[in-house]
Amino acid sequence: MNDMQLDQRVVGSDDIKISARNCQVFYGDTHAIKDVTVDIEDKMVTAFIGPSGCGKSTFLRCLNRMNDTIESCRVEGDIRLDGEDIYDKRVDPVQLRAKVGMVFQKPNPFPKSIYDNVAYGPKIHGLARTKAELDEIVERSLRRAALWNEAKDRLQEPGTGLSGGQQQRLCIARAVATGPEVLLMDEPCSALDPIATAQVEELIDELRQSYSVVIVTHSMQQAARVSQKTAFFHLGNLVEFGVTSKIFTNPEDPRTESYITGRIG
């Protein structure tokens, strides 16, 4: 892997966490993802970029089988997590999603208290044996999502009462609390102000120490700042995939170049 020599920030990890081979996604007759092959590495941030409607969210949702909930959606090809086919009949999507967490494009807090929102995952998976442990998980997760200071005095208030940006951070805290191995984030900062964005980016950088993170973003700067690998999607095709710095400075495909310079999108 000679990509690695180009990026100094990558510290000796060439384990493939998720590998997708010839992945196709159909919504009824619409062919939304066309023959995408990509490797997502462990302890690294991978960014998906591309114009609106090109299939970034669709592909992201393939990685934890969230597309199962859409009746018209059909996934073909081979996607493996740690070498195991996640679309195999024996794989329980529920367990898979516990390992591959997700933050959605639109904040979707449950109509419960802030505390219960964060404690939801840990409770379901039995991660805490005592109330104190649960409290600790909640606090740690809220801190990591840069929401603790704002929320610590109102933990029992409904999560839906937070502002849009706070809700999004609550959803991040909720996803982190479950302790996933991979975190999929679909435009996590689209509703955040610059300060909160910086905090979330810091969090992503920190998460990279232990997890693999995939982030969809419309901000080139953000992709450049937080990711080590970048994938450029266009009309359902994976046009180019490689080390972030290379994609942004020296793209191979003319479509990538026009997108990052703002000519298509």
Binding site: G101, P109, F110, P111, I124, A175
Partner: protein, 522 residues
């Protein structure tokens, strides 16, 4: 001439006049333009419409109001012409014994109300008697109460006259009829006059610059506003129709006695009345047994309907595949359309005997019982609950489910911990609506809860027969011997009145809950 002055015929005349007005208006507008329609402010067609609307709308509105108000005016009139010393109002001495001044006053007021409804019933009976061609108007004016057995004569013609006709009531009835005859003509006459004025004025104002288009817009808007207020007016009309008799009843029988009475035994009822009770004031009209029976059955019904309906809704909206949904949902909706009488028959011939066979005849002497009616009513409500809850559950955003599933929750955990709590206010609203339907339901309880039983008190046994609000209304109104002026019938109005407010309250509550819930996700 007077034959033409009825509301229906005036209605036809007004509409014809409006149609004629349309064509005349168009012609006049064309004439005013001097052959070049483009010089007009509005199109000739709009001028035509303006004339038609100005003719028809005020007259139509007047006709509608008149149909409402005529009855009211006549009520006020009859009250005004009966003097306080009307002999029929006097309370016999033996009934005065031991009563306070106030109690006598209340009883006299009661007699007055009763007398008024007697007079009104009599006037109506005479109207129909004449309309059936049994007597001419002149003959009727010469009638005397003491000369011919009037009551029997009217009854032979099929009219309901439950109390003996006295000279006093006959006089008042004739007076009332004369007044009603005048009222009946004035309304149509006024409507006709209005139509003609509208017709003439709107034709006269037509000129090159007249802005008919704008006027038409205004008329149309006015008419639409009127049409939508009609729905509200209907409710008010229903309310006023039951309010006055109910108030009369409350005054006569006593609101407190009604609300706290433990026995329901109307004197005019076919069953359940001990022998020797035939005086009008001896009916025992306590509300508690009825509301007890009603709520008892509604409770059993909800016990059946809520779990089944809710589970069906959860299955349909969260677990069923498209194919299953496409079959089950319409099937449930068809079930909701089955007439309640069919459910009633089912209860009577199938569920009743079935329950009796299980629990035995000692506990369940009759096939009609709270359980029989409740279980079947519950079945009737299942599609109602499930379709309402299904809507509510579907309104929970998919993002909520995705959020939960994305954290590794199972579909069952997602439903119980996220979807249902989110949908709860709406579901409770659906249950309240179902309760309101259960309380107002008539046919099933008439057939399956013991409409003709001789229960008069509160029956705690779920396998025993009960009396309910709706069955008692049916029993009194269809029972023999009760004219529309007895205390029993007045009590029925009070029942309807109470029922109206209970269901209204429940519906308002449900609506508020569902609205609040929808707000949450807007």
């Amino acid at each position: 001439m007077t034959a033409l002055l009825t509301l229906p015929s005036v209605l036809v005349i007004v509409l014809v006049l409006a149609a004629v007005g349309f064509f005349l208006g168009r012609r006049r507008a064309l004439a005013a333009s001097g052959g070049t329609p483009s010089t007009l402010h509005s199109l000739p067609r709009q001028h035509g419409w303006h004339v038609a609307l100005a003719t028809a709308v005020p007259a139509l509105i007047l006709i509608v109001f008149w149909s409402f108000l005529a009855g009211l005016v006549s009520n006020i009139y009859i009250d005004a012409i009966i003097p306080d010393d009307q002999p029929e109002l006097r309370l016999p001495l033996e009934q005065r014994a031991g009563l306070t001044e106030r109690e006598i006053e209340i009883r006299v007021q009661g007699r007055r109300d009763l007398f008024i409804s007697n007079v009104q019933a009599l006037a109506g009976a005479i109207d129909r008697y004449v309309a059936n061609g049994n007597a001419t108007e002149e003959e009727v004016q010469r009638w005397r109460a003491d000369l011919a057995p009037l009551q029997q004569r009217l009854q032979r013609d099929g009219q309901i006259v439950s109390t003996a006709v006295t000279q006093g009531s006959l006089n008042r009835a004739l007076e009332l009829r004369r007044f009603n005859a005048i009222v009946a003509v004035t309304g149509p006459l006024a409507a006709l006059a209005m139509a003609v004025i509208g017709f003439a004025v709107s034709l006269l104002v037509i000129s090159r610059d007249f802005r008919a288009r704008i006027s038409v817009e205004r008329w149309t808007r006015g008419f639409l506003v009127f049409a939508s207020t009609m729905a509200i007016l209907t409710t008010i009309a229903i309310l006023s129709a039951i309010t006055l008799p109910s108030l009369t009843f409350f005054r006569e029988y006593g609101l407190f006695d009604f609300l706290t009475g433990l026995t329901w035994a109307p004197a005019g009822d076919v069953t359940g009345v001990p022998a020797g009770r035939n005086g009008e004031y001896q009916s025992e009209l306590g509300f508690l047994p009825l509301i007890w029976g009603t709520l008892y059955i509604a409770f059993v019904a909800l016990l059946v309907a809520v779990p089944l309906g809710l589970l069906a809704a959860i299955y349909l909206s969260e677990f069923a595949t498209k194919g299953v949904r496409a079959w089950v949902k319409p099937a449930l909706e068809i079930l909701a359309g089955v007439p309640t009488i069919v459910y009633g028959i089912f209860a009577l011939v199938t569920i009743g005997p079935f329950l009796q066979a299980i629990v035995g005849t000692t506990i369940m002497p009759n096939t009609v019982s709270v359980m029989t009616a409740g279980v079947v009513m519950g079945m009737m409500l299942v599609p109602f609950v499930s379709s309402l809850s299904d809507d509510v559950i579907n309104a929970v955003p998919q993002a909520m489910r995705d959020g939960s599933l994305g954290l590794g929750a199972t579909p069952a955990e997602t439903v119980t911990q996220v979807v249902l709590p989110a949908a709860l206010p709406g579901i409770v609203g659906a249950i309240v609506l179902a309760a309101s339907r259960a309380i107002g339901e008539t046919m099933i309880v008439v057939l399956a809860a013991g409409a003709l039983s001789n229960v008069t008190g509160i029956e705690p046994n779920p396998f025993g027969a009960v009396v309910t609000v709706t069955t008692r209304i049916v029993a009194v109104l269809t029972g023999e011997g009760s004219g529309f002026d007895s205390i029993d019938v007045l009590a029925v109005f009070a029942l309807a009145f109470t029922l109206f407010f209970i269901t209204l309250g429940l519906n308002l509550l449900a609506q508020r809950m569902v609205a609040k819930y929808r707000e949450q996700y807007e």
